[in-house]
Amino acid sequence: MQFLRRQLPVIIAFVVGLSMWVLFYVPTQKSLELQDGFTLWVRIIVGFAAVLGVLSVVNHHYNKIKAKRPGYAFSFITLGAFLLMALSGFIKAPLPGFAAGNNKPDSLHFWLYNNMMLPMQATMFSILAFFIASAAFRAFRARSMEATVLLVAACVTMLGRVPLGELMKLGDPIFLGGPAPIDFPWWSSWLLNVPNSAAQRGILLGVYLSQIAVAIRIIFGIERTYMGGGD
């Protein structure tokens, strides 16, 4: 039993991982088919992982209502909205006032998506603008050299992307074919394309090397945290 619980998963990860690694370097039709087959299998498994996530949310709110924990009334809204949205997508029969089917623009499913989910999603992300601004006010006080650089880079990037910034152009080009000292759109795109992409590249090179290291650790069974705790 211990073999099935703890050793077989490591063997599966080793065999599947090594096969996928080797298949990448085998330029045959069969190899491509096997890789495509693996991708299909993973899509199906990940689909179930999504169901697991949904079941966890439903389970959490069901238990909250059952135990009458504080704020349990809101859980009724979550479960009700979940059922409404899920069923509207599964039921293909016409509903009063709406078109039949779930993939038509005037179906209930699309109506709920366009008039409820989408506006709330956009508003939720847009209010972050206020919180980013208040966080920036606290973080951007030029107390150190680093904070000042961050502040200047952020201001130049923002000014370069608004019409006001485009109007603020001052001075002659620093050198032939170069920018004016005050030319926010130019400096904004330079900041993004040169120092920003270089800094990101420095970070990404480290990330990629770590990804390869972790992948090798998983294949050879050194990294086993995906198995979770317990027996």
């Binding site: 991982g17 680093e146 880079a153």
Partner: protein, 214 residues
């Protein structure tokens, strides 16, 4: 009833979500829980119509391709995570797809991400025949210095003192420039969403429904 009711409901929900700017309140909590329920319902539909129906149901019922029963069973084992006595079966599924992705990650990350990033960092200088070429060469030097110094900044096997310390300070300078630029673009993206919501409230709802109707 579709359009007018839809705009009124969308406007109401937008204002409910905006009420959080004042402080956490019951209207926001209603909106928050409504959004959670709707998005989970939407997500399960997307999974069903994009994965389960075409990849599992259709293949088994219409194409008589029974091989997909194997990943479906492995997927079902994931759901056993919720049953403590059988949750160990989910390890087989995790091992299958995490192991497989680890195997794919090594060559893909190496050939598709790491090497192209290095290649675009180490490009040869252009002959100094025009102002644009000169500018490209200056940028190339900046990129080389920035990438090297940022890598040194994250290299902890050497103590950050003397020369290494100075180079890592240059790396920190470039990181701050990068973070500032990234912050600026994030703010602009959020602000454009905010402008979009205000446009909806003013043009579609206030001007389009209330004042026009009045």
């Amino acid at each position: 009833m579709g359009e007018t009711l839809g705009i009124w409901i969308a406007a109401g929900l937008t204002l409910m979500m905006f009420s959080f700017i004042y402080r956490d309140n019951v209207l926001f909590k209603i909106g928050e829980h409504l959004y959670l329920g709707l998005s989970v319902g939407y997500f399960i539909n997307v999974q069903y119509w994009n994965t389960f129906y075409p990849e599992v149901f259709s293949r088994i019922v219409y194409d008589h391709n029974y091989v997909v029963i194997v990943p479906a069973v492995l997927g079902f084992f994931l759901l056993l995570r919720l049953v403590p006595s059988l949750s160990w079966l989910s390890r087989w599924s995790f091992a299958f797809y995490i192991g497989g992705f680890a195997g794919l990650a090594v060559p893909f990350v190496l050939n598709g991400l790491l090497l192209p990033q290095l290649t675009s960092t180490l490009v040869p200088f252009q002959p100094a025949t025009s102002a644009a070429a000169n500018l490209a060469n200056i940028n190339q030097v900046i990129i080389l210095v920035a990438v090297f110094s940022v890598l040194i900044f994250f290299f902890f096997s050497l103590e950050h003192k003397k020369l290494v310390g100075s180079v890592s300070k240059v790396g920190l300078f470039f990181l701050m420039l990068g973070f500032g630029a990234a912050f600026g673009t994030t703010v602009m993206a959020r602000v454009s969403l905010l402008v979009g919501r205000f446009q909806f409230l003013i043009e579609d709802w206030l001007m389009g429904r209330i004042f026009r109707a009045g």
